[in-house]
């Protein structure tokens, strides 16, 4: 039982590492220009992005639509709670690694409350008690300690990323508790449910972004880069130099 499961995780890790090395190599070969949002691999990235979008259009979105039809909103929300709850070690450990001791303690408390009172995490009474969900991962931990993101990167299936967050993904994959207890073919099923359910929760929103954008690739790249920066800084504010650059009318410059 134990063996194939470990194999599964090693495999995933190797896959990510391989993608990383390959893209790091390419990145080193072609320096980025400041105009394109540090995206020296734009050609390759666009290709992978297109591929991911096809996967979304023909597999993920239809599956999520079907799921959405047969599953009430309450159930979707509960499943989302359940998977978030299982992801607690990533959040708690990375909070700790960034010296956020109070936050990390709150995450442990949250897990305890939701796993017991919240029926294995399907419900979220903890939020109502002030133990709110935090968003931490190893990519953010690296960023917190000053590691730069490196060039923008689109990973097959995983989507928008960068070398820093790729390392983060690989490291975080070891903190998934259920993988150590449950054979891989069950975790596969669980993950499929998680992915389809998560996708179902944003059906309308994604459609809208696609409709609203003029260059979906660029829209996502900008959003990903800024969102990650905001998450690392733990605030919704744009950096001051970005603000100056964004909000000054040309005539005044």
């Amino acid at each position: 039982m134990n063996h194939p499961m470990r194999l599964n995780f090693r495999y995933e890790w190797l896959l990510l590492l391989g993608a990383l090395c390959c893209t790091m190599g390419c990145a080193a070969a072609r320096p980025g220009s400041p105009d394109n949002g540090n995206d020296p691999l734009e050609g390759m990235n666009r290709g992978i992005f297109w591929f991911n979008d096809q996967v979304d259009n023909y597999v993920l979105e239809p599956a999520a639509k079907g799921w959405d039809k047969i599953t009430p909103d309450r159930v979707q929300k509960s499943l989302s709670n359940f998977f978030h709850n299982l992801g607690f070690p990533i959040v708690a450990v990375n909070g700790l690694l960034q010296g956020k001791f109070v936050q990390s303690a709150s995450d442990v408390g949250r897990f305890a409350v939701n796993t017991t009172v919240g029926f294995l995490g399907f419900f979220d009474p903890a939020s109502g008690w002030g133990l709110v969900q935090h968003n931490e991962d190893f990519g953010q931990t690296l960023g917190y300690w000053g590691v730069p993101p490196g060039p923008y990167l689109v990973l097959p299936f995983f989507g928008p990323c960068d070398p820093r967050d790729t390392v983060g993904l690989a490291v975080d994959s070891f903190s998934v508790i259920y993988a150590y207890f449950i054979p891989y073919y069950y975790t596969f099923g669980a993950r499929a449910v998680d992915i389809i359910n998560s996708r179902a929760l944003v059906l309308r929103e994604v459609r809208q972004i696609k409709d609203a954008s003029f260059d979906y690739y660029v829209a996502v790249r900008d959003a990903y880069t800024r969102r990650r920066a905001a998450l690392i800084a733990d605030q919704n504010d744009l950096p001051q130099n970005t603000q100056d650059e964004l909000y000054q009318l040309q005539e005044e410059q």
Binding site: R74, K77, D165, S198, Q208, A219, Q250
Partner: protein
Amino acid sequence: MTRTRSTLRPLRGIIVGFALTAFLLAPISAARAAEGPTAAVQQTADAVVAVLADKGLSVEQRRHKVEEIVYAHFDFETLSRLVLARHWKELSPEQQKAFVEEFKRHLSVTYGKNVETYNNEKAVVIGDRAETQNDWTVKTKVIRPSAEDVLVDYRLRKEDGQWRVIDVIIEGVSLVANFRSQFQEIISRDGAAKLIDLLREKNAKGEPLKS
């Protein structure tokens, strides 16, 4: 991995946030009401939610009314100039006018669809702050009954004695910056006329969302 990294996972917050733009200005707690920009956001919010909650109106009527309120409180010209940045001056006065109109139309066509799906979202002001350029930021949090909260900041600028919104920042992603990055490439490559055509084209086929 429990915290699924599907294609869209890392972007969930933003995706949701963008889609919320129509009811961004949902009800805001009266306790924070004050003079100036915060009051402006507050009043806009109150007005929008009153319309959204009015089930006596048809979807079209609600949409139209929300549009009116939002138009009065957003400074689309400044917003457009900021979006086009250095390219603004390359446009002829007619093109500038057309761009402002079409861009406004685009935002309204895209985000106006959310009027149909308003689901008792609420927003609370969680702070405000003076910025450089004499701007003001009003920070809000959109609370959704069956989903995660979304942080939405409004940047306001005073023009002719009235505070109006010049940017919306959702979970760290600025509307101005996001469109700027998309438009920059189109203008550099194909020119401003092409961009305006693209906007017209998109607006022409912008129908209310079915599902």
